[in-house]
């Protein structure tokens, strides 16, 4: 910009100078010419010429003077222009800096505005529990601790229609109470400790035990390591359905209850995880584990599985290996409900070279108010001393329907509101096994040994019916749950025991007697339970 302004001014200046110099040169060149003319003409003409020349020269001088003045005025103008230009420059600079400042101020204003806005939202929001929790979270950092769990009270009425293999038993009713606090401890965002301690009080006495205690390490997106004492991740029942407020029934289905087909717990290590294989909700998951392996209460046919922590029954066994895979094929957006299909296996040596093998399949489906689930499982236990395999099969199917949508016309709305909290359920379960060890029948002491016969008594979550211990037990359970909150429920269950004839009763010394036909039984259980 500055160059473009100057060029024309410089041009004018140079043109002026050239012009005046040119006139002067013409004047000088004219002097000798005038002399030559004088010599040739008369004196009078000479004087006149000289006069003329003088006049011309005067004119020329005046012209030069004028030119100089013009030049000076032009120079002044140029100077003025130059100073003006620099002033413009300064002004431009000032303008630019002002602009910058303006921009900065606008930014500050925007920031202030944002702060004001966020302050406003904070002021406007009520002080809710999440905020309190956040404050607690900030205080505790990632290091946190909480107690959850469950508690339940139960009443069991068991009506006996026949004794089982000479075991004394009479119809009875009992109250029970169970408290199962669970501690969660999270030292960091990648590790969690979990432990459930249960205390039971009832007719059979007071007992406490450590149900589960494990740590969970979140290695990455697809891998979690679990170590400790945990529910057997075989199928769904032990791990995902056994807590009392989770189970829709008071009792466990037969193959996971008094006649387990696979061990309920394990002391070991798991590796597990899940991933989405398709749309949102279409998941696959896996759990593989190894542990101390299966233990049995004795070497006889039909012996019960014992707790993974009972050292007394620990055999010289090998370790176990288990695996479970589940698939959830329905996308969440399809609104076709949730379907889960699973397959599991669990294997290990239970005694020297004798293997215990098991496998199972399960399903779970729910849509709206309807939920159905079921499992089938089988186990084979190689027996020592050439005895034939201890083979067991078990299954259950159940379905429940929440009456949430119920509206009976002609009934007051208050009553309808109560009715909507009910969930009627039905379950069919059964176990087939070659033999049952009478020593393991709950509450039995010294059958066949001549000892005191305490007989069958109900226990927490066990209806106490002798028929449930039959080698070929079958049970239809009807339940009516009244849901007060998602984890507070009053459950009522009516069990119809329909055992099939067949199978063996095995004494602790291995004496086998045919079970024959076993009488049907009924039992009623009522339970109030809270998951907290």
């Amino acid at each position: 910009m500055r160059c473009a302004n100057r060029a024309p001014i410089g041009g004018i200046m140079r043109a002026g100078r050239i012009f005046s110099t040119f006139l002067f040169a013409i004047g000088v060149a004219a002097l000798p010419l005038a002399g030559m003319a004088r010599a040739a003409d008369s004196d009078a003409t000479d004087t006149a010429a000289l006069k003329e020349i003088r006049a011309e020269m005067r004119q020329l001088r005046e012209d030069r003077k004028r030119d100089r003045e013009v030049i000076r005025s032009l120079e002044v103008k140029v100077q003025q222009l130059e100073t003006k230009d620099s002033r413009v420059e300064v002004t431009t600079q000032q303008l630019q800096s002002t602009d910058q400042k303006l921009k900065e101020t606008t930014l500050e204003l925007q920031q202030t505005n944002q702060q004001v806005q966020s302050l406003q939202t904070k002021v406007n929001a009520p002080i809710a529990t999440p905020q309190f929790g956040n404050a607690v979270e900030r205080y505790l950092g990632s290091h946190s601790f909480t107690v959850t769990g469950a508690a339940g009270g139960q009443f069991v009425y068991d009506q006996q229609s026949g004794a089982l293999d000479g075991l004394h038993h009479a119809s009875q009713n009992s109250f029970f109470f169970d408290w199962e606090p669970m501690i969660l401890y999270r030292p960091a965002d990648w590790i969690l400790f979990q432990g459930v301690f249960s205390a039971g009080f009832g007719a059979t006495g007071t007992g406490t035990d450590l149900s589960t205690a494990d740590f969970q390490i979140f290695l990455n997106k697809y891998m979690t390591v679990v170590g400790g004492l945990y529910d057997q991740p075989f199928g769904d029942w032990y791990e995902a359905q056994s807590p009392m407020w989770v189970n829709r029934f008071v009792t466990a289905p037969l193959p996971f209850g008094v006649e387990p087909v696979v061990p309920p717990g394990e002391l070991g290590l798991q590796l597990r995880g899940g991933l989405q294989f398709g749309k949102l909700g279409q998941d696959l998951d896996y759990t593989v584990w190894g542990g101390n392996g299966p233990n049995f209460s004795s070497h006889v046919l039909g012996a019960a599985m014992s707790s993974p922590t009972s050292i007394a029954s620990a055999e010289s066994n090998g370790k176990s290996i288990g695996a479970r895979f589940r698939i959830y094929p329905l996308p969440v957006d399809s609104e076709m409900g949730r379907l889960e299909l699973g397959a599991s296996t669990y294997n290990g040596k239970w005694l020297n070279g004798n293997w215990f093998n098991s496998w199972g399949v399960d399903f779970n489906y729910f849509i709206g108010n309807l939920q159905a689930r079921g499992e089938w499982l089988e186990s084979y236990r190689q027996m020592p001393m050439g005895q034939s395999t201890d083979h067991r099969q078990g299954w259950y199917v159940q379905a429940g329907y929440f009456l949430t949508g119920l509206k009976i016309p002609g009934i007051p709305e208050v009553i309808n509101n109560y009715l909507r909290r009910f969930e009627p359920l039905v379950r069919y379960s059964g176990v087939n096994q070659r033999g049952v060890s009478t020593a393991d029948i709950q509450g039995a002491t010294g059958v066949g040994l001549g000892g005191t016969q305490v007989g069958l008594v109900p226990d927490f979550g066990i209806n106490g019916s002798p028929a449930t211990y039959a080698p070929h037990s079958r049970e239809v359970a009807l339940a009516l749950d009244y849901w007060i909150a998602p984890s507070i429920v009053w459950q009522n269950e009516f069990d119809i025991e329909l055992p099939r004839a067949g199978g063996l009763f095995v004494s602790p010394t291995g004496v086998e007697t045919p079970a024959g036909s076993i009488p049907n039984d009924h039992a009623f259980l009522s339970q109030f339970t809270i998951g907290f």
Binding site: T129, P130, F132, G133, N134, V136, E137, S142, S144, T146, T148, L184, Y185, R186, D189, W190, L192, Q194, Q216, F218, L219, N220, K221, Y222, M223, T224, V225, V226, E239, A240, Q241, W245, V246, L269, R272, G273, G274, L275, Q276, L280, G281, D283, D285, Y286, T287, G290, G318, K319, I321, V332, D333, R338, E340, K349, F366, Q371, W483, P486, S487, G531
Partner: protein
């Protein structure tokens, strides 16, 4: 023999696990997210909660527990349900907002 295989599997797993990039149910991770990302997770969580959390028991609402408790409980539930990590975060976002 079984023991040796078992130990080898465990060691290999731990090596693979610790060697790969960690992805957890983490409060810190969530703090680095933009408001738009929080919103997206919340919406996904709202969709997943009634489906995933009703699978084993009745879905427990967010208001039942404080956010710091949900951090722990969702770790526990992720283990039990073997939920994909992203889905766990989405449900956590949803539960903590209520």
């Amino acid at each position: 023999m079984m023991k040796k295989i078992f130990v080898a599997i465990v060691l290999a797993t731990l090596a693979i696990g610790f060697g790969s990039p960690g992805a957890r149910v983490s409060a810190q991770e969530q703090d680095n997210m933009s408001p738009a990302e929080h919103k997206r997770l919340f919406r996904e969580g709202a969709k997943l909660w009634p489906v995933y959390c009703n699978t084993c028991h009745n879905a427990r609402p967010g208001g039942e527990k404080a956010p710091y408790e949900w951090d722990m409980i969702m770790m526990h539930m992720r283990t039990l349900g073997n939920f994909p990590q992203e889905d766990t975060q989405a449900i956590l976002e949803y539960l903590k907002a209520r």
